[in-house]
Amino acid sequence: MAAVTAAADEDARRWHEACVAAALFALDPAGTGVVLRAGAGPARDAWLLLTESLLPRAAPRRRIPLHVTDSRLLGGLDLAATLRAGRPIAERGILASADGGVVLLAMAERLSAAAAARITCVLDTGELVVEREGFASRRATRFGVIALDEGAEADERPPAALLERLALHLDIEALPLAALAAPSPLLKAQVEAARARARHSAADAAGIELLCQVALALGIGSARAPSLALNVARAAAALQGRDRLAEEDLTCAARLVLAPRATRMPAPPQSPEAPPERSETQDSSQPAPPGESSAAAAAAHALEDRVLEATTTALPAGLLAALKAGAASVAASAGAGRRGVAQRSRLRGRPLGAQPGDPAGGARLNVIETLRAAAPWQRLRGRRASGARVQVLREDFRVTRFKERTPTTTIFVVDASGSSALHRLGEAKGAVELLLADCYVRRDRVALIAFRGRGAQLLLPPTRSLVRAKRSLAGLPGGGGTPLASGIDAARELADTLRRRGETPVVVLLTDGQANVARNGQGGRAAAEADALQAARLLRALRTSVVLLDTAPQPLPRAARIALEMGARYLPLPHADARTLAAAVRGLAGAREAAAREVS
């Protein structure tokens, strides 16, 4: 019972914090910004409604859909108006029209890095520079961003460049309805009162230093984080009608801005000897008189400890566990290296310039190039009775060419069992290393699964970091049974996930095919082989490219049969060294490369 109340209290607290964050954002949209992690649902709707009510009525609100084109986002040529007027008419983009207001990014976790960069550039410079379709413009543009993050998995997050620039990271995922208490009506009055007051202009040297200290203690590298935290602290002070930063304001900012960005646990605050960075500060940036300095420093430390402690309790629960386990890279690498969404349509991809052609068959008309092609002939063609000011004929049509590139991830599945390990594991490792270098050149990502003993293990989730791949490979121990079925299953699951994200998985399985551990972890050759064959058939159903490298010294028909069942290329390599193995897989990759589409 106590646990239930505690959980309910925790939910209520999270909701309350989200409401405060909404007020802080409404006070200074351009200086803060929000990432709201929550699926579509009552919690998110309630939060958005609240924010909406707190924002000034006159501020424009613009919602940006996921697949917004550059011409809508940034502005460009207004086709209808141009044809009517017979001269180029510019169209204002969404970002320009959002000046002084708020931009809402739907499904930000699927936003491409390139689209995010267009928005972050405006956030950074406070200026929208457009050089498109015959127009050049530059105008001051400031807006606040609310990024809706509906990511389901831990690594499904908005582009890191965007996260970095948004101050408030809120997570109201899975808040129960019961927790969504109506926010106090006082909040709106508070926000309006704070907005009416002039913004205070104190320098807040101590506050800045404190926020930098906390950021450092939490392992936050970017200098933007403390800057954003400072904006939030000022908004918090304004909300309370203060014109100097108080401890609560700094704590609030540290909890909302710094805690979600933490990449490491701070050193325990009660530690008797001060960590080196603190003593440094004392030396260089506290020119207080000597008598007072130690007392002042002690007070500053106590304050820092209190803020840090309050912040630590706000660290996300999952992160805390991960950090404690020493996997400090979780937060840093989340979102990095992930890009792109399914790009199967012929209409998407990177534009590659224009060429003459019919806008039929799904090709997209490039308006500006078409008009340019038509322009020189206008006088010749004359003005017809149709009333149109511009005569565009079929031969003027220009279509945009797109180049699609779906990211490829090569999944290495390595048999590290006793039977393989004895002679071949070293060579298999060598081959994988050589292939890694290949993947690097092609900018592919790699993932590594190993199976031995009772089951399979994902040693390395998809990554571009070859150093990490190499390290996890080098640390791979060998020995034990051969749970081949589990290995194939793990590869299938990963390939399926990647496929769903619109990426192209390629599976490279290195084994001798001597399965002797079944899916349930029990030994027994017959059951193990039946399981392996079944797993192979399931993998085949995914229709992904698979290559099986038989690493047995004397190839037996078993591995060949498994390859057949999973529709894999089978390469028996009894005497192959690492180089030959790599060359064999390279052949496969080459065939795939040739098949890579270039739609025109």
């Binding site: 520079v129 320098a203 807040d204 800045i208 500060t281 020189p376």
Partner: protein, 339 residues
């Protein structure tokens, strides 16, 4: 209104690389690659305000230099046949190439308005024309579309923009210093593009508290009162501008002794850099640094300080090598020149 260059905290390598490129534009571009929130774009935008003005032919769309008669655009050549060219003082252009820019705006294209309205075929110059004799800045250069990158490379290498489209046939000078910045996590740069940059700077987040506090404090001060902040740094900016102008003027007089040439060659051989470009850049950069510091001759200390930015992107890449190229250069410097 941009943050003053002299108020940037830390980031010594970035500042030095940008200044050196401003002293000798022939160095061939600067690449700033590094962590987020380290002020890469701030530094470039600050540079724009710092540069001493230059003289250019009045009303020339390409900002031609009247003294450099070999590189005049067609318009200026026509003007020159009619009489002497009149020059005016203009700021050095620092042109931002925004993401999402279309090809027609970069290379220039048919002026639509005049074509549609008057049926006239007139060339409308693009960003490359505007960047002539100045800087072209590409933020998030690794996110730029490939076909645009190819285009930039081609023009940067030849110093001339040739436009053949829509029945237009135009060529105009486009000599600019390419400055790119980006975050390696968003994607790597193609090796061909890497090699075009004369200098490559790796930017890291400062780890010590006083520096970080100062970064945030100055940023905050600037954002709250930009005009006052600029006024506060005006004297320092003027001094730096003066230093740049002096260095630019004295560059030709700085001598490079044989021993320095040999040292540069030894270093490049030791590191196994591909081609001669690295060596040439290293010597050139060392000379610009000497000019910036007001010395008359280059010595090994100049080489040492510029070795990392001039060479780190030219080392043969081994993707599995854990030590960064910076460390390798550091090691080579120690072996060749001692501590």
């Amino acid at each position: 209104m941009a943050f003053p260059f002299s108020a940037i905290v830390g980031q010594d390598e970035t500042r030095l690389a940008l200044l050196v490129a401003a002293v000798d534009p022939g160095i061939g571009g600067v690449l700033l690659f590094g962590d987020r929130g380290t002020g890469k774009s701030t530094a470039v935008r600050a540079l724009a305000q710092l540069l001493p003005p230059m003289r250019a032919v009045a009303k020339c769309r390409y900002g031609c230099d009247a003294k450099d008669t070999g590189r005049l655009c067609e318009d200026c050549r026509a003007r020159r046949r009619k009489g002497a060219l009149r020059s005016v003082q203009v700021p050095v252009p620092v042109v931002d190439l925004p993401l999402g820019a279309t090809e027609d705006r970069i290379v220039g294209a048919l002026d639509l308005e005049r074509a549609l309205a008057g049926g006239k075929k007139v060339f409308e110059p693009g960003l490359l024309a505007r960047a002539n004799r100045g800087f072209l800045y590409v933020d998030e250069v690794n996110l730029l579309e490939d076909h645009l990158v190819d285009l930039l490379l081609d023009v940067a290498a030849s110093g001339e923009n040739i436009v053949e489209r829509e029945g237009l046939s135009v060529r105009h000078p486009a000599r600019f210093v390419l400055i790119g910045s980006g975050n390696p996590e968003e994607g790597e740069l193609r090796p061909q593009l890497l090699d075009r940059f004369g200098l490559s700077v790796e930017i890291r987040t400062p780890e010590d508290l006083p520096t970080r506090v100062e970064v945030v404090r100055r940023r905050d001060e600037f954002e709250r009162a930009p005009r006052e902040f600029q006024a506060k740094w005006a004297a320092e900016e003027a001094r730096l501008r003066e230093q740049l102008a002096t260095a630019h003027a004295s560059l030709a007089q700085v001598s490079v002794p044989q021993s320095v040439l040999e040292a540069a060659a030894r270093l490049c051989m030791h590191l196994g850099t591909d081609g001669l470009r690295g060596e040439l850049t290293l010597v050139r950069v060392a000379r610009a640094l000497a000019a910036l510091e007001g010395t008359r001759a280059v010595d090994n200390s100049h080489l040492r300080r510029m070795a990392a930015p001039a060479l780190r992107h030219r080392l043969r890449r081994n993707p599995l090598e854990e030590a960064g190229s910076g460390t390798r250069i550091e090691r080579a410097l120690l072996e060749l020149f001692g501590p």
